[in-house]
Amino acid sequence: LEKGEGHFLLNRYMSHKTPKLIKPMKYVISISFIILLVIASVFLIGCRNTNSSSNSQEISGVIAESGSTTVQPLAERLADSFMDKNPHVNVIIQGGGSSVGIKAAYEGIVDIGASSRELTPDDPPVEKFLLAKDGIAVIVNPANPIDNLSIEQVRNVFSGNISNWNEVGGADHEIHLVAREEGSGTRTAFHDMVMTDEDGSEDRVSRRAILQSSNGSIIQVVRSDPNAAGFISFGYLTEIVKAISINGSAPAKENAKNGDYPIVRPLYFVTGNQPVGIVKTFIDYCFEEEAQEIVADEGYISVK
């Protein structure tokens, strides 16, 4: 049939009866190229437009926040309640990690950055606001009989010096470590508070540890593996994994607030300059009683 079709067109062409038949095909081709080019150029112009408009976000009532994934769920709830009160303001919350948040806030890419670790001299100079405090819980599978570890034991478990659960009073099974990837605020805070001595000597989290890129995926690994041990932020604690006590102190907000629970870190909002306009309004709002109640409700430790 294909061959026949060719002849068919050829016949028409040769007989000069309807030579137009061939043209539309080529028109379609060339017109579609033109459309393609137009679409491409529109995209390019569009990209440039969004770039240039990011500077005028304050005026148009948009606040952009990005940074620590630990702070993210809290920031989303604070933003929701802020937007309920100020319907013309749009607060956009993104993740990215503490380092990215600090850098983006410093460079003015976002209005507010979020950090779930102490700022270091390596970070660019930014204004910081202590939004809340957060405990880091050591979690194991619910089937694991272990309920309590000393902070020394936690350090040895995660450095790999202790590799079997029976060395800390559990069953005779290899410990499967699950940690966050390097650069994560949760991992940095865990490293600073658990793996580092006051005199500065430090252990590294074992290189054999499985690395997951979020609190949620650590929970998923630990819940499915009876011999796993991981660490997550208090805000993510659920029933499906068991959070163990450290030095006999249960991972609860009260214990973290009164200083019994040893692994507590700050959560910061950071800005490149002193905040003004709606950014300042939003940050001020985060320290009001209502906002701090949301902080507590999300499982973090309020600063009031």
Partner: protein
Amino acid sequence: MKDIFRSNNQQNRNLKPDPESERITENAKNRRSRYLSDKSARAGVLICAALSFVIIIAIIVFILQEGLPAFIEVGLFKFLFGLDWSPSNDKFGILPMIVGSLAVTIGSMILAIPLGIACAILLAEVSPPKIRNLLRHAVELLVGIPSVVYGLVGMAVIVPFIRDIGGSGYSVAAACLVLMAMVLPTIISISEDSIRAVPNKYREGSLALGATQWQTIRHVLIPAAKSGIAASIVLGMGRAIGETMAMIMVIGNAVIIPTSPLDPARTLTGNIAVEINYATGLHESALFGTAVVLLIFIILLNTLIFNFLKRGNSESGST
């Protein structure tokens, strides 16, 4: 057939009876617009081709430019053969990731090549048409499944299965099994096509000599299709080495050189995807450096494919 065309032509003639003079001017016009549309189509094709070329060059230049500081500051040898990757301690050695990528690629190939070629032989030569259609649809479906779904199945099924054997389950072995499923469709469909493309006279000749079907497949068809089969394997390797999402989900991402299939590992692609969120400065540059190494691997593989295909062509040309 010819009757149909004739009647069609007649119909057209009846619909559009055009006088001689009109026809000449029409033709002149048509010729000019045809010429113009021809030119514009040629220009359009050229622009599109140039655009894709520019994009590829731009990507390569960008990756090299971003990755170069890592090569210079860390040192090429230390970067490529360093055992320790610890960005917070300023240590950037990607040997564990190179080994990880090679391990999962080779491992998955060892699993996928026999399976894939066997399946291709079945589809091309052995199975009755009904089963062949069913199987081919299944294979095509495998191609369309997003890699994150493979990863999910790997996490839910394969990882616990490996955990029962030993270790945490997030391992090279789990990654190899997931990758095997992902590269199978590539190997099957291209191998099948190349076995099918073997001229029928080969089959007939072999059978006429008294060979059994298996002997024909083993000693005639596979050797005749070997360049196509080799190309399918290398294409599968390309997919395996570039796979990212599914690998992150099942391989554990630990930066160690795996000493057993039950150990976790990290691939080059996984290294970039896992850490780019947190990377700044030299760390970011080191990740681009990882991309450069990945790019070189891919270029090597592509050259290999090109050579196989060229050899295949010249062979079939000479016979």
